[in-house]
């Protein structure tokens, strides 16, 4: 039986189920295959902090959203068009997001009295009109899976566990994704357990066949490949891209990479990834705590390594004193903060960008340090290289901000050619011999104000550094009032001077006559960009710019801000960049601030921009939209 195939431009699918149902794995496999067929895509994994919340419970729901299209896209999608809900709890927590008229596939077998109760349903939603606005497909996924595996010698529990592969097979049919790669992947993953491999492959194929043969589904869909810039692509998450960026920075600088870290969500995957690349000479040190992680990294920097510490906000709080020491001893050090919801333990698995001011000011004394932020998963790679450039050129700790959304979100990534990567080797200049009668560890390079990097083991450069204030040039301990003021100014001037090496603000203003500028930083890049498209498609004029460098800011930023009647800065915090911009440029920057633990939708940002456009004509009460 052949069914019709409908062509779509873009689709957003969300897989939702119990955290033990394998939804992340299902989503990741669908993503891989989608990347293979050439669609542009963006993903948003959304899972609870608990490893295994009680089965069937509302807090235990794990979701994975994937947006794919035949054109370049910027976000994981505002609203799913298709929701796969593996149990009542998943339906309850996700239905509100499903687009009106969207496709809902539920695992009917999971709608037992017990599961309905756990999901706080007083009656089965399949039997009332609460699902009336959707195209509902009630599929007994569990029993179909078990049925497909009836020939196999496996426990019923093991058979049931393959139900996520049945769902994946069904979705693969619905969106015309081939199965071969997934079959190969399953066979490789379960190489040591061939029974399980066979069960998963059988379930996958059964799901596909079910879609093809049952009369429930009238037709399937197709999303044509996107026209992305020419090149070789792979799928990449932010944490993986950041890890690769660090390895690339080590290779391109000729320095051995040393990572000192402590496990913390959502940054641990960088530690995991780098620990796998020992054949690149990468040393990873899982320390006893966050402080030891940065301590060891700073020791390794002193000893001549490209040193990194990776963490999330709570870890940065613990590392604060050591970061101050790194500022004082002026050694290159990369500090990665994969931000999550705060304060305190906050929302470990959810995204936020509320550690900007912590990075700027979260230390005692005047302790400036450069800050860069990644805009999308692939950008984590480039930003790691940029952070290394700054650290090595200016001999300073550099803070690199990513966040939970970038860390786990995936997108196609055009693999760079090695020759196109920046060459950092010239920036590594260990002091070869004393720079005076005796070695003067704080005699600076006149251009960069960097002090010499004197590697232990070098004859004649024996010297002492530390956290006490140092006399200019000699580096000896100094309590002299004028010297302290001078050194404070020098440390600031060195960081300010980095601005000379960063590009001017790139403003995207197609017609050149927009009066509203929307300015972002970090992972809001995609949603802001998509929102600007929406506004422009509706006839609005809006200019858009994005900051990679947050300290120092690009030299022309003040001038750019002054060109617009209104400036809107959407942030997943309560207005941290806005505070800095207002203080620095005395510009009445407006904010759009939400901390939902999720990335912005392009729709809400488009509304915020539209609000700013409307305010141009009604300037009297121009509060930022709520």
């Amino acid at each position: 039986m052949s069914k019709t195939v409908e062509t779509l431009e873009s689709v957003t699918i969300r897989f939702a189920g119990d955290s033990g149902d394998g939804m992340q794995l299902t989503g990741n496999r669908f993503t891989s295959v989608t990347a293979q067929v050439g669609n542009d895509l963006a993903t948003l994994p959304d899972f609870p902090a608990e490893i295994r919340a009680p089965a069937g419970s509302l807090p235990g729901v794990s979701g994975f959203q994937l947006h794919f299209a035949d054109h370049d896209i910027l976000t994981p999608g505002d609203q799913p068009d298709v929701l796969v809900a593996m149990n009542p709890a998943a339906l309850k927590t996700n239905l509100g997001d499903l687009a009106r008229g969207g496709t809902l596939i539920v695992n009917g077998d999971a709608f037992t009295r017990g599961n309905l109760k756990k999901a706080a349903y007083s009656q089965d939603p399949r039997g009332d009109d609460s699902l009336g606005g959707y195209r509902v497909f009630d599929v007994p996924i569990t029993s179909l899976t078990v049925g497909a595996l009836s020939e196999q010698e496996l426990s019923n529990k093991d058979k049931q566990r393959a139900k996520n592969m049945f769902a994946l097979g069904l979705m693969s049919w619905m969106f015309s994704r081939p199965l071969e790669k997934t079959v190969a992947w399953i066979e490789d993953k379960f190489r040591s357990a061939p029974d399980i491999a066979t069960a998963n492959v059988t379930a996958l194929k059964a799901g596909f066949a079910f879609g093809e043969t049952t009369e429930m589904f009238a037709h399937s869909y197709e999303v044509a490949p996107a026209h992305l810039p020419a090149g070789t692509y792979r799928q990449i998450t932010g944490n993986l891209a950041l890890s690769y960026g660090l390895v690339a920075a080590a290779e391109r600088s000729g320095l051995p990479l040393f990572l000192g870290g402590y496990p913390i969500t959502p940054a641990s995957d960088i530690l995991h990834e780098l620990s796998r690349h020992k054949h690149f000479g990468v040393r990873t040190f899982q320390a006893e705590d966050e402080i030891a992680g940065i301590g060891a990294a700073l020791g390794a920097a002193f000893a001549g390594n490209l040193a990194v510490t990776t963490t999330s906000g709570p870890g940065i709080a613990l590392k604060g004193e050591s970061i101050g020491l790194a500022v004082s001893v002026e050694l290159p050090l990369l500090i990665v903060n994969v931000q999550r919801g705060g304060p305190s333990t906050g929302l470990p698995t959810k995204t936020e960008q509320s550690d900007l001011l912590q990075g700027m000011f979260g230390r005692n004394g005047e302790a400036p340090l450069p800050i860069v932020a990644a805009a999308n998963p692939g950008d984590c790679f480039d930003v790691a290289l940029e952070a290394a450039r700054i650290a090595l050129t200016y001999r300073t700790p550099v803070l690199l901000l990513s966040d939970g959304y970038l860390a786990n979100g995936a997108e196609p990534w055009r693999i760079p050619r090695i020759a196109d990567l920046p060459d950092l080797s010239d920036l590594v200049q260990f002091a070869p011999s004393p720079n005076g009668d005796v070695f003067q560890p704080y005699k600076r390079d006149p251009d960069t104000l960097a002090r010499p990097w004197a590697r232990p083991g070098t004859v004649g450069l024996e010297h002492r550094i530390g956290g006490l204030e140092k006399a200019d040039v000699t580096g000896n301990i100094s309590y002299d009032p004028e010297n302290h003021h001078h050194m404070t100014e020098l440390r600031q001037a060195k960081i300010d001077g980095i601005a000379a090496s960063i590009p001017p603000v790139a403003v995207d203003d197609p017609d050149g006559d927009a009066r509203v500028l929307v300015l972002g930083w970090g992972s809001t890049y995609g949603p802001i960009h998509a929102a600007a498209r929406r506004v422009r498609n509706a006839g609005g004029k809006v200019a858009r710019a994005h900051l990679r460098h947050l300290n120092p800011l690009p030299t022309d930023l003040g001038e750019v801000l002054a060109r617009y009647d209104r400036v809107l800065v959407p942030e997943m915090n309560m207005g941290q960049l806005r505070l800095l911009l207002r203080a620095r440029y005395l510009v009445d920057v407006q904010g759009y601030n939400r901390v939902h633990g999720l990335p912005f939708t392009s729709r809400e940002l488009a509304e915020a921009i539209t609000g700013q456009l409307a305010a141009l004509t009604a300037p009297a009460t121009d509060e930022a939209s709520p």
């Binding site: 690339a248 040393f258 006893e288 301590g295 390594n305 101050g324 450069l461």
Partner: protein, 339 residues
């Protein structure tokens, strides 16, 4: 590590040009002179020596050594030193710390460095007081200590640093005294030649805030210093008339040799794999007010952390070949988009 016939250095070569700024009469001077004095015999090139410290009086030490030095922040020296030593096995790294720095704010780093067996020499100056902050009780102060922060006497039971080190799986644990020049030099040299983390507790007098804390051992060395020597029966006293025996209950006791006979004396075995006997010795005196063991409690061989890490890198490269960045970036799942 010296491979050429360079002129032998002297103590002066290891003194930096910085003026030493400890209080006159501080026990730190003697330790500094001792370390500087034994350096020429160590046979390690000066540029390969790194002294790392935290915060406190003792932590000023690196400024006075004409070697590489890093005066860091309170308690963190073992962590920083671990990064140096682990990434640069060619360096000889010393950690200088105190009872507050090493056992209070930095206790966590200390125990983890010890269990990992990173190539480090950790010298803990124990003066049983906070000196730099002007006289608060420390984690080694005796119970009931009256200080500025404990006018009614301290309430917390003190640590025994040697017991801690042994409990933390240290492979080298020793104790000495600031004023015992030869003994201290010998212990430091043993430590410096050890592979792994070597921990030395040095009783150090703070003549300003805790003068005389170790008077029992210093004024009556024969009566109160139990000098541990590997392979020798443990005995002390002006005429070696006292000794240590293991009772039937397994506990160690100080006895008169005449009462038990020489044959019953415990023979010190510093190289025993099992640390329990060394631990029992450390319990003979919880605070040094009576007979107290000094010397090498324990020295055993165990692979070092930095050595093991280096080996993993070598093995990985042998197995997989030197990493190829282009291959890494490409991964296994790629697709090509044409022009």
């Amino acid at each position: 590590m010296t491979d050429t016939a360079a002129p032998k250095l002297s103590r002066k070569d290891f003194s930096s040009d910085q003026e030493v700024r400890w209080c006159p009469g501080c026990g730190d001077y003697a330790i500094l002179a001792n370390v500087q004095g034994m350096m020429p015999d160590l046979g390690v090139d000066r540029e390969r020596l790194v002294f790392v410290s935290g915060i406190g009086c003792s932590s000023r030490f690196p400024y006075y050594m004409n070697t590489y030095g890093f005066h860091s922040i309170h308690g963190r020296a073992p962590a920083i030193a671990t990064g140096i030593s682990t990434s640069r096995p060619d360096l000889k790294v010393f950690v200088i710390t105190g009872d507050g720095d090493g056992l209070s704010i930095g206790g966590n780093h200390l125990i983890h460095a010890l269990r990992r067996n990173v190539n480090l020499v950790i010298i803990l100056f124990n003066n049983q007081i906070y000196g730099l902050t002007k006289g608060q009780y420390s984690p080694t102060s005796e119970l009931g200590k009256v200080t500025k922060s404990t006018p009614a006497g301290s309430l917390d039971y003190p640590f025994n640093p040697v017991s801690i080190a042994l409990g933390a799986e240290a492979t080298f644990v020793a104790r000495s005294i600031d004023t015992e020049r030869e003994h201290l030099a010998h212990v430091i040299e043993l430590a410096a030649r050890h592979h792994g983390t070597a921990f030395i507790e040095v009783y150090q007098n703070c003549n300003i805030f805790n003068d005389g804390a170790f008077a029992a051992l210093k004024d009556h060395p024969e009566a109160n210093q139990i000098r541990l020597e590997h392979g020798q029966p443990i005995r002390f006293g002006a005429d070696h008339e006292r000794g240590v025996v293991m009772g039937d209950d397994g506990a160690l006791r100080v006895v008169d040799v005449a009462d038990v006979g020489e044959d019953r004396l415990l023979v010190h075995d510093a190289h025993r794999e099992d640390a329990s006997l060394a631990f029992a010795l450390s319990r003979l005196a919880h605070t040094p007010t009576g007979p107290t063991p000094v010397g090498l409690f324990r020295q055993v061989e165990r692979p070092t952390y930095d050595g093991l890490m280096e080996q993993q890198l070598v093995d990985a490269e042998q197995r997989r070949g030197r990493g190829d960045l282009a291959r890494l970036l490409a991964g296994s799942d790629t697709w090509t988009v044409g022009d």
